[in-house]
């Protein structure tokens, strides 16, 4: 690890001087302090900390995996593994002609169903609004849910998708990664499924390690021989 990157916890001094504070840091006089457990990065004139723990904060356009918790006659409430519960209006699923009298929400989605959704809208004043009306979105009918820390999603994807491709190719699994840390793995073979799950959990546990892609590769290869 070079001098610019270091492990920090809340309160730790990241650097001093005329830097621009970005994510998970705080300017205190001329000191830049970390507000999270993570890895600090200084590049050009800005400073940030990549967190290693924390809840998912919704961002507009994010793909998330969501679980239906309940419904009213007009919308569903979904667990998006966040500080806030997401809601999905019935119109989004039934279309503009939705009628609260004629259409039964449970005919489309019921409690416990998993869906791939996008954050359509979210700000400080209201709970995240979800949409499933796009290609590749909607109810998930097969596969297994793996839960990782949302802060480790970028690591699971890897630089230009290298990590996730490595796992998919080695296991023949199809993996859908929600930005909220919920990941759906589907695979024809049980062995591939288990191996893919194991690799994802490994990334979750060892996200701070520098040569993680190599370690994951090694695990995937050694397991396939045995």
């Amino acid at each position: 690890m070079d001098n610019k990157r270091k492990y920090v916890i809340p309160g730790d001094l990241v650097t001093t001087g005329p830097f621009r504070p970005e994510q998970n840091v705080l300017l205190e006089g001329n000191k830049i302090i970390s507000t999270s457990i993570g890895i600090s990065e200084i590049y050009d004139d800005s400073v940030r900390v990549i967190p290693l723990t924390g809840k998912y904060i919704p961002k507009i356009n994010d793909l998330v995996i969501a679980k239906v918790l309940s419904h009213t006659s007009l919308s569903w409430e979904l667990d998006i593994n966040s500080c806030y519960v997401g809601f999905l209006p019935a119109q989004d699923v039934f279309g503009r002609d939705f009628s609260a009298h004629a259409d039964e929400l449970t005919s489309k989605l019921k409690t416990g169903d998993l869906v791939a959704a996008r954050i359509a809208n979210f700000d400080r004043t209201r709970d995240p609004l979800l949409t499933i009306s796009d290609r590749d979105l909607g109810k998930i009918d097969s596969g297994a849910l793996v839960q990782i820390s949302p802060s480790k999603v970028p690591r699971l994807i890897g630089k230009r998708g290298t990590m996730i491709q490595t796992i998919e190719i080695a296991t023949n699994a199809a993996i859908t990664i929600g930005q909220n840390g919920w990941v759906v793995v589907s695979c024809e073979s049980t062995e591939g499924l288990l191996k893919a799950k194991k690799a994802i959990q490994m990334v979750d546990e060892k996200a701070h390690i520098a040569n993680l892609t190599d370690q994951v590769k090694e695990m995937l290869e050694s397991e396939s021989e045995s």
Binding site: V68, L69, G112, I140, L145
Partner: protein, 272 residues
């Protein structure tokens, strides 16, 4: 428990599909409990204590022994009281406040197993008949939840009681006063062991984990004593059992309970 927790449908389907092949999500046999670990004397200041892990369910029981007034109609017997609390840190759905019915049921089922097996010889816990007796308070707290609290709490309470020691009291000036000297083990007569079984479809599984618990149609908790006799029982859940199933559950509880009893004996001997 965990009334707010919703199991995802994919997992529920998977649990059912595997059971049809006589398999379980975590690879156990249908009549196989999860790994049990028992740490006695986890709270040295208590008269007895045990932290029990049953898979990822973790509970702690502390026993306090102190003089008390007897119940009016039971002046020749000591007192045994068992409580249980789901600590709010054990699961996001747990709320603080007065105990919910399912937590009260939990404490009563654990209490019943210990009481009805006559595990504690309460007749030996009398300081002065009708006036002062020894009270045994067994308080159980749930630290982390992953299904089957009945058995985890029952093993913790039993292990804590088996390793409890008590001072001796005598009446001085009409007040119970500790007799100086060594503490003696709490007088016990048998080791009750509960075995909780869930019914999913027409399968009976022992020691359901959290996901299995949320997928269950009905459950039954059967407590047996050291003689291999059945001494307490509780059926729960919104479905029923056939007569054959109930008999089958009785057999399982004796057989599986015997193995778990050995672990409790080991924990008792290990603490001495």
């Amino acid at each position: 428990m965990a009334s707010h927790s919703v199991i995802d449908e994919l997992k529920k389907t998977q649990i059912l599909e595997l059971l049809d092949q006589e398999k379980r999500v975590d690879g156990r046999a249908l009549d196989e409990p999860r790994e049990i670990s028992i740490e006695t004397n986890a709270v040295p200041k208590a008269n007895g204590s045990a932290k029990v892990r049953l898979g990822d369910t973790e509970v702690l029981c502390g026993v306090k022994i102190q003089p008390d007034r007897p119940f009016p109609d039971m002046g020749d017997k000591g007192i045994f009281i068992c409580t249980a609390e789901l600590l709010p840190l054990s699961h996001p759905s747990v709320e603080t406040g007065p105990p919910q019915p399912h937590v009260i049921e939990l404490a009563r089922v654990v209490d019943r197993g210990i009481r009805e097996s006559h595990m504690i010889d309460l007749s030996q816990l009398v300081i002065e008949k009708g006036k002062s007796v020894v009270g045994v308070f067994s308080d159980i707290v749930v630290i982390d939840y992953d299904g089957n609290l009945f058995d985890a709490c029952s093993y913790a309470a039993t292990a804590a009681l088996l390793t409890s020691t008590t001072p001796k009291w005598t009446m001085v000036d009409d007040k119970p006063t500790i007799v100086n000297g060594e503490e003696i083990p709490l007088p016990t007569t048998t080791i009750p062991v509960s075995v909780t079984m869930g019914k999913i479809g027409n399968h009976i599984i022992v020691d359901p984990n959290g996901d299995e618990w949320d997928s269950m149609d009905a459950r039954i908790t059967i407590t047996t004593n050291s003689d291999g006799n059945i001494c307490a029982l509780q059926k729960g859940g919104n479905d029923g059992f056939t007569q054959e199933e109930v008999v089958q559950c009785g057999e399982i509880s004796v057989r599986v309970g015997a193995k778990i009893r050995e672990k409790l004996k080991e924990a008792q001997q290990g603490s001495r």
